[in-house]
Symmetry: C2
Subunit: 370 residues, 2 copies
């Protein structure tokens, strides 16, 4: 769907929501909005699709209910403002900017529409996303992106009319835009055979300098740690639209594993987004405990697991999406090994080791964790 | 100086450092290295150049001194490794990767060369920077960049051979590369009349979507909060080489002021870098306390100053580079006003207010803080 069609579709969905309320008011019924519940207890891991999803519990917000009327008012305000901004074809905003637009004292009272962004307006925005089944980027609300990308990918930026060739972006790579939805970014060509997602910028930088993406015909991306929304959607879209596999190169520690899992099946707190941004077939190509011996990683590169690491390992072992036997085995092996190893440490083998030996060997042998 | 000349110059400086040590050993003297002291007490604000600088105190590290011999060994190791990597024309690394390369047990002992990056190898890298008067980027050590830039600027990326046109980078803008030294980035053309540095990505995004840089013939940059090294050097180089002014659009709070001051005169803990990355003529174009009334910013956009804010205001008032009467007046006014206002909040006036009224008015009237 193109930009204009998306805009019109969202407006019509929001309009329908408002008309529904009007109808109830005219019929002298209590106006109410029913929407999927976004509580953690309504998020679950779907073992068939291998994605974190939102369950089918719903909640209703009634205007004539003391406990619900403020939230009802806030939901109506946010929906109406988003509709107005889309109708006016305004530029996209951050959720903080929307909060500032909507925050004011209610006439004749000392009551504010909103007093806090994180606990009031942001949750309402997420409510509207799930109610009308649309990502916030399509509602004109964008988050700060963090990632960069290089490789044989060309896309049209529908917002500006520019064509971006990710193989000609120099030592910086192409910045990932704040909105990577099909209504904003249209892929033209992608010659890559796979996507290598690198946790850390320093590792990406090393691979980019040696033109790893060119020699290995891949797309080389980093989210600089935990990826932002548009980074994840970009990877998921490339994975889906070009049917190319995703390999995630993260640290051998519970944080690296978790970053990998977010690219793969998403996260519980953003379950609705995870359904659309996950890559259920992604593989982990970071170090495994077995690799330490196999590749002769020296002890001076080990970092002792601390209490926080051990606690995190325990937590991760209990996540449904880490319940497969390979990951259970790996998590136990890490705990028994007692040390974590960062992906940066591979340079101590040799500066070319990551690009010329480690990654090609593992990819050729399909030596991944699922 | 081009890439190759820079590389050779650094190698020759490091070689000279080693030869000096050799000479002392052959003359049966204690080998020692003398370098500028990087302690906070040796950093100062130079009111003439209006930059934070490193003073002229020096320190000497002797091999035959129990308290200095480990640091001496570490300094020699880092210098030798950097020289080797440059001679081999290796890709640039992060300081963490260099740490991993150098960390090992000393033969026949249980002693490690390095046990910690932040307190051991990073300070030694900074020592070498000041000793041979070269930024670490030219030593082949790059940091993670954070910023993006758009506008009528074209540069050659000397590392990859690509030409980057910052006016054709779509809604993402051009990612700022990890190395923006003249040996890595060569400016071709810059048609802009000034550089607008925006603290927050959301504000940059709004201005970029309305092509503010095109309508106002400027360069539009954000460091996404506190800027990284290469972001700052890029701004400083544009400022110097094209003789165009720098306006910093930050929040009306002590953190925004401080971010501005780092672009302008640098910071105490990186005094050596600050001399090369500062823009002493930069101006603050964020909200001033007077503007609140002038532009009718509504009270719902104010955020009460908390204890931390008040403490930070007090600290900033005592910094030498905030001692000018305009800033002293402004800091007092903020404290008396009792509220901070974020740059994001301007959207509540209207979405176009920042781009079409606030910024053009202030720039036309030269209504800045120094």
């Amino acid at each position: 769907m193109n930009k204009e069609e998306t805009r019109k579709l969202i407006i019509s969905k929001l309009k329908k929501l408002g008309e529904e309320l009007n109808r109830k008011i005219e019929a002298e019924q209590s106006p109410s909005i029913t929407m999927p519940t976004r509580t953690l207890s309504n998020a679950y891991f779907d073992p068939k699709d291998r994605l974190i999803k939102l369950g089918d519990k719903t909640q209703t917000r009634n205007f004539f209910n003391v406990g619900q009327s403020k939230k009802f008012m806030q939901t109506s305000l946010v929906a109406a403002e988003i509709k107005k901004l889309l109708e006016q074809k305004q530029p996209s905003l951050s959720t903080r900017q929307l909060y500032y637009i909507l925050k004011h004292s209610i006439e004749g009272t000392k009551e504010n529409t909103f007093d806090d962004q994180a606990t009031e307006s942001d949750p309402v925005i997420e409510d509207i996303e799930v109610t009308i089944d649309a990502l916030r980027e399509n509602l004109g609300l964008e988050a700060t992106p963090s990632g960069v990308i290089s490789g044989e990918l060309i896309y049209d930026d529908l917002k500006t009319g520019d064509t971006i060739n990710c193989s000609k972006m120099g030592s910086a790579g192409a910045a990932i835009p704040p909105n990577t939805e099909p209504s904003s970014i249209k892929f033209k060509t992608c010659k890559a055979k796979y996507i290598l997602v690198v946790e850390k910028f320093a590792v990406w930088n090393l691979l980019n300098q040696s033109k790893f993406w060119k020699k290995n015909n891949c797309i080389l991306m980093t989210g600089k740690g935990q990826a932002s929304r548009s980074d994840r959607r970009l990877v998921a879209r490339l994975n889906k639209e070009f049917k190319i596999p995703v390999y995630v190169f993260a640290d051998m520690d519970p944080y690296g594993y978790y970053i990998y899992s977010v690219y793969k099946q998403g996260s519980i707190n953003l379950a609705f987004f995870s359904e659309k941004a996950g890559c259920p077939d992604a593989k982990y190509i970071g170090l495994k405990v077995d690799d330490i011996k196999k590749f002769g990683i020296k002890k001076s590169n080990f970092i002792k697991l601390n209490d926080l690491d051990l606690k995190r390992i325990k937590e991760i072992r209990n996540y449904d999406w880490f319940k497969g036997k390979e990951w259970q085995k790996e998590l136990k092996a890490l705990k028994d090994f007692g040390y974590k190893v960062e992906s940066d440490a591979l340079v101590s083998k040799s500066i070319q080791f990551t690009a010329e030996e480690y990654l090609p060997k593992l990819i050729k042998a399909k030596d991944f964790l699922p």
